[in-house]
């Protein structure tokens, strides 16, 4: 489903290269975990996948369902089924969360040639999804993410993911900032989305999340490259020994 080939990407503003020849393949139905030290380029990779124009791809390609997405803008990528749960969801004053959900869901439906959802149906879906994440529906009247606690913001990201039903989900440190109960709720939400025709990429620092969302593959990202891939035992090894061994091995 996702094939990243020799990807090089740099910061558009100053030309600093962050992703330096990265290769990664994630198949439909797979849950892939990406781990790696702070500053290794995990979030940058997620932004490049989503099409953020602060970064420029200089070499390589990203294939999604066999086709390059490099020429697509972020809205087209999202409408085609790519979803990024942000490490730091943005606060957008003045845009009510509910209104935002309505516009986003209907924008994606429109792009796929579907009719807009009627308000009662939309409300029903939002209520159901919010309920399953233990979110207070009253919160959705507030401006998007404004004043939400760290955990509330992460839950709001998962709420959007559930409602938008993407094919490729990228979760950037969705576990950080969550209390233990919330972690379970969010993991359940993600597990519910596991399906043979959906791929999920979980970026995390902690083995704990991977106990709830058991990955099919684990990849270590370091200095803009995947330096090691393995199965879930790799995460346990990292938890026990840190990154030093893996980094030395790759050097």
């Amino acid at each position: 489903m996702l094939e990243i080939k020799n990807l090089h990407a740099r910061i558009a503003e100053d030309g600093t290269e962050i992703i330096r020849g990265l290769n990664l393949t994630v198949k439909a139905g797979e849950v892939a975990a990406i781990m790696g030290p702070n500053g290794s380029g995990k979030s940058t990779l997620s932004y490049v996948l989503a099409g953020r124009d602060d970064y420029e791809v200089t070499e390589g390609d990203i294939l999604y369902n066999g086709e390059s997405i490099l020429e697509m803008d972020p809205a087209e990528r999202a409408a085609s089924g790519i979803f990024l749960a942000f490490q730091y969801p943005m606060e957008i004053p003045g845009v009510a969360t509910m209104e935002f959900l309505k516009v986003a869901m209907n924008a994606q439906r429109k792009a796929r040639g579907e009719e807009p959802l009627k308000i009662p149906e939309l409300l029903k879906r939002v209520k159901e999804a919010a309920g399953s994440l233990n979110m207070d529906i009253a919160m959705l009247k507030r401006p998007l993410n404004v004043g939400f606690s760290g955990g509330e913001k992460k839950r709001a990201e998962i709420l959007q993911m559930k409602l938008l039903e993407p094919q490729l989900c990228v979760l950037d440190e969705t576990d950080s900032g969550l209390d233990i109960d919330a972690l379970k709720i969010v993991a359940d939400g993600v597990n519910a989305l596991r399906s043979p025709d959906r791929a999920i990429v979980v970026i995390t620092h902690y083995q704990r999340l991977l106990e709830y969302i058991v990955p099919d593959s684990v990849h270590v990202l370091y200095r803009g490259q995947v330096i090691k891939s393995g199965d879930k035992s790799l995460a346990l090894e990292l938890e026990a020994n840190g990154y030093a061994g893996v980094i030395d091995e790759a050097a």
Partner: protein, 423 residues
């Protein structure tokens, strides 16, 4: 000596206005007293339209900017609009002419202004407010019609009253004096619009009695090739409260003046405004607010969206007179710039002669937040829609503060319309 060397040559617009006066005077309504006022106003015009050297017109050099002066065209047709708010009593002035068919609303008396000009009773109100009052002078010289609205004391008028001033490409000049009795409450909507490259001036005078409460909403969406010069005057009685909301969403050359005096102790003035500026409009909002009595308050919040080559101006002058102790005045003007070629100039001025007051002002200019835009797009919302959401978010506060649901909805619908064509 050559006289022309001393007096700058008249511009085409100035000449056209003086000629229009000669040809229109005989058909304009009014007795001798009215004609005296018209002639006085003409003297102000003869001195020339204000240039940027006149402080009040510094950002809007009317002499340079006013280029099109169409004739009044009696045969042109303007259509009455559907009311902004359901259930309103509508008073249309179509192509400068009021309707004989006056609505009937309990507690309110309506009169056609033409009648008050003819019988001379309106003559005293045709005073020009100083040499820089070009709009007052233009309007006093040419005013032909409008409505007088008189609201009884203690009347709570449930239905909004909508004053429509609709031009049809020619020159029109209207007035709307409104008197609100003690403790009366009313919502008044003023629509300034039309079709064609008209020149229209419109002046309203609002007097609030003791404890009266008025919400006045101006929606100006003239066509892109027209000139609109408006003036809103208000005198606030003791403990009265006025909220003035305006939305400018059209016109090539627009000036909306707001002149308010807190003549009564304990009165409160709230100004909320939105300027939606596109194309090559030049839109100027100039407010002069006098706090002349103790314990009065005011707050002004103006939000501007500027795109294309549009130019906007907000001049806000607050005079706190020496006896106006305990005045609480705050003014803010925030601009969202959507294009490189657009610009907005803000000039706040506080003149404070009392010592025990709280006054402040702030102005900001920003662009659409790039990260916010990315977040919305990352959810599948296309660029145009995402920008629209963010622009509305920027403006929402000003509208939502009006708190009356049908009014908020009607104004948001106007925003959507503007954004659909200019976003």
């Amino acid at each position: 000596m050559n006289m022309h060397a001393q007096q700058p040559q008249r511009t085409g617009a100035e000449t056209a206005l003086l000629e229009a006066y000669d040809s229109r005077l005989s058909v304009l309504p009014g007795d001798g007293a009215v004609t005296v006022k018209r002639d006085n106003a003409l003297e102000v015009l003869k001195a020339g339209l204000p240039t940027k050297r006149i402080e009040a017109w510094h950002y809007t050099d009317l002499r340079r900017l006013l280029t099109a002066v169409p004739q009044h065209d009696a045969s042109a047709v303007a259509d009455k609009l559907g009311a902004l708010l359901d259930g309103s009593a509508v008073l249309p002035v179509l192509n400068g002419v009021s309707s004989a068919n006056l609505p009937s609303v309990d507690g309110v008396r309506f009169e056609r202004l033409e009648d008050k000009l003819r019988d001379g009773s309106f003559a005293p109100a045709l005073e020009v407010q100083g040499t820089d009052d070009a709009i007052g002078a233009l309007n006093a010289a040419f005013v032909a019609d409008g409505y007088f609205v008189d609201i009884e004391a203690d009347a709570e008028i449930a239905a909004p009253i909508e004053l429509q001033n609709i031009q049809a490409g020619g020159q029109t000049h209207s007035r709307f004096p409104v008197r609100v009795g003690d403790r009366a409450k009313v919502t008044i909507v003023e629509r300034q619009t039309g079709e064609g490259a008209g020149l229209s001036t419109s002046i309203s005078h609002l007097t609030l009695g003791e404890g009266a409460e008025v919400l006045w909403i101006i929606v100006q969406d003239q066509p892109d090739d027209s000139t609109y010069l408006g003036q809103f005057n208000a005198a606030l009685g003791k403990d009265s409260k006025l909220t003035l909301f305006f939305m400018n969403a059209g016109g090539r050359l627009v000036r909306q003046e707001v002149r308010v005096g807190t003549a009564g102790e304990g009165s409160d003035f709230q100004l909320r405004g939105i300027n939606l500026l596109a194309g090559d409009t030049h839109t100027d909002v100039t407010m002069v607010l006098d706090h002349t009595k103790p314990h009065t308050g005011s707050r002004e919040l103006i939000r501007n969206v500027v795109t294309g080559k549009a130019r906007g101006v907000f001049q806000g002058r607050i005079n706190v007179h020496q006896i106006a102790q305990k005045t609480d005045a705050k003014m803010a003007c925030n601009t969202l710039l959507l294009s490189d070629d657009g610009e907005f100039s803000t000039k706040p001025e506080l003149e404070i002669f009392a010592d025990d007051v709280q006054c402040g002002h702030g102005a900001t200019v920003k662009e659409i937040d790039h990260d916010h835009l990315f977040y919305l797009k990352a959810r599948g919302i296309d660029e145009k829609t995402a920008r629209g959401l963010l622009v509305k978010a920027f403006l929402a506060e000003v509208i939502e503060e009006l708190e009356v649901e049908p009014i908020v909805e009607a104004l948001e619908a106007r925003l959507d319309q503007w954004f659909a064509t200019h976003g």
